[in-house]
């Protein structure tokens, strides 16, 4: 039985094979019915509109049926049941579980107690492998994953999407450039972990000093609650705001990604520029999640 819990568990071959499958689905077979008759529980114990909808959409396009639990209130969890018990019971009703939970490591726990495959749809500040796979997929649509320069911009201290992407990129020949406000830099433990895995990481203080070297700029949200007051937040967030001027002299095929939702890190006037791929990236969530569901459940 196969689960997808963390991008760290996946080899390059496994990632490439899932991306190949996603590409095939996206280009040629958007409505395959490979999961007809299969019942999947979407257990969302934390609010998430786009991840839940794109999993539901992916499942419907595969012909499967979703049972959605998207509120803790009124569920067994609010009565004090452990996640372990919930998963044990639910896994006897369905053919697969997609789980989102506020606690880090919840999906890893779930796969210990489940009789059916589990896909992690985000566990607190922890792992979110479907996001990382769709990030990689979107990069691969524009360029090969080897031999590129990838910039990570924004909150790199708490931003889990940037950490997971950086881990996944260690499988490829990629140079990573980090650009983060002071106090929101990549944590030392994460940085040394990446270096041990063979990553090439260069830290920068400003975006302007590196943007023209990049093939991919991955922007993440700078969250207001990370700052002591609104004035500091506004100052920092403005200095990390991507505008058309920043993109004036970038490489010809350079792309800009963002896991969304954005809070002002990318000026809306960038949206119509050829580099802006973040809505395409969100759209890619469906074929990538179709590939993931099919991979573990079929």
């Amino acid at each position: 039985m196969r689960h997808i819990i963390s991008i760290r568990d996946m080899s390059r071959e496994e990632i490439d094979s899932l991306l190949d499958k996603s590409e095939y689905i996206r280009k040629k077979d958007k409505y395959r019915r490979s999961l007809e008759g299969k019942l999947i529980a979407l257990l969302f114990f934390e609010p998430s509109t786009r991840t839940r909808m794109s999993f539901a959409s992916a499942l419907a396009r595969l012909g499967g049926e979703a049972i959605i639990v998207d509120s803790v209130e009124g569920s067994s969890i609010s009565k004090g049941e452990t996640l372990a018990d919930t998963v044990r019971v639910v896994s006897s009703y369905v053919d697969g579980i997609v789980l989102r939970h506020p606690k880090e490591g919840a999906a890893r726990l779930a796969c210990e107690f489940s009789n059916v495959p589990v896909i992690n749809a985000g566990d607190g500040a922890g792992q979110h492998p479907s996001q990382t796979l769709l990030d990689l997929f979107t990069i691969r649509e524009s360029m090969p994953l080897d031999g590129i320069e990838v910039g990570l911009l924004g909150d790199l201290r708490y931003g889990r999407t940037a950490h997971s992407l950086a881990h996944a990129l260690t499988h490829y020949d990629v140079r990573i450039h980090t650009i983060a406000p002071r106090s929101l830099e990549l944590p030392n433990s994460t940085l040394s972990g990446l270096i041990r895995m063979g990553a090439k990481v260069i830290e920068h203080e400003t975006l302007d000093s590196v943007i023209n070297e990049l093939d991919v700029l991955y922007v993440t949200r700078i969250q207001r609650e990370r700052f002591p007051d609104l004035a500091t937040y506004s100052k920092v967030s403005l200095s990390y705001r991507l505008t058309p001027e920043n993109l004036a002299d970038v490489k010809e095929n350079m792309i800009v990604l963002h896991p969304l939702p954005r809070a002002g890190e990318i000026d809306p006037s960038v949206d119509t520029m050829p580099q802006a791929k973040y809505f395409r990236q969100a759209e890619n969530g469906v074929p990538v999640r179709m590939a993931m569901l099919e991979e573990v459940i079929q």
Binding site: R8, A84, E104, R108, L109, G126, R196
Partner: protein
């Protein structure tokens, strides 16, 4: 021949039990805590700290009578005293001698420092850590513990 009192044994030998030798100097009390031996224990116990080691430097020694350490207890000791040796004594003789080795995965040994980790809830699971070069990585939340391990031992 009478021994010079200065060369005499610091702690007398035990008939049956365990001698933990070569504990990192100053960690003997943490070793006792890990073994669950507190001030109210009934076991006959000898503790020597900052003893001169034959190889030079200082070490701690703990002797516990009538108790043979189990593997999971030894694993815990390895985290704070990686050079310790465990001698199982039966009838005054060393019946078994083993070094301690930090296992590649620690199950139920250390608590995760991440308050958001699922292992810090009421779920029916034991903590799991992978021992890596940079520290201990929680298998649930990927949090890496680099220092203060003695305080986190369950």
């Amino acid at each position: 021949m009478t021994k010079n009192p200065e060369e005499g044994l610091l702690i007398s030998p035990i008939r049956n039990g365990t001698v933990i030798d070569h504990i990192t100097a100053g960690e003997a009390l943490s070793v006792l805590r890990i073994l669950g031996i507190t001030g109210t224990t009934r076991e006959c116990l000898s503790v020597a700290t900052n003893v001169k080691s034959c190889e030079g430097g200082l070490k701690d020694i703990v002797k516990v009578e009538n108790r043979e350490l189990k593997k999971n207890e030894v694993d815990r000791i390895a985290l704070i005293a990686p050079n310790a040796t465990i001698n199982i004594i039966r009838d005054f003789m060393v019946a078994e001698k083993k070094g301690v080795e930090i296992p590649s995965i620690l199950v139920g040994v250390v608590r995760c420092t991440n308050p958001g980790c699922i292992s810090n809830t009421n779920e029916p699971i034991e903590t799991k850590f992978v021992v890596e070069e940079g520290g201990l990585r929680c298998l649930y939340c990927d949090n890496i513990i680099t220092s203060g391990v003695a305080e986190l031992i369950i």
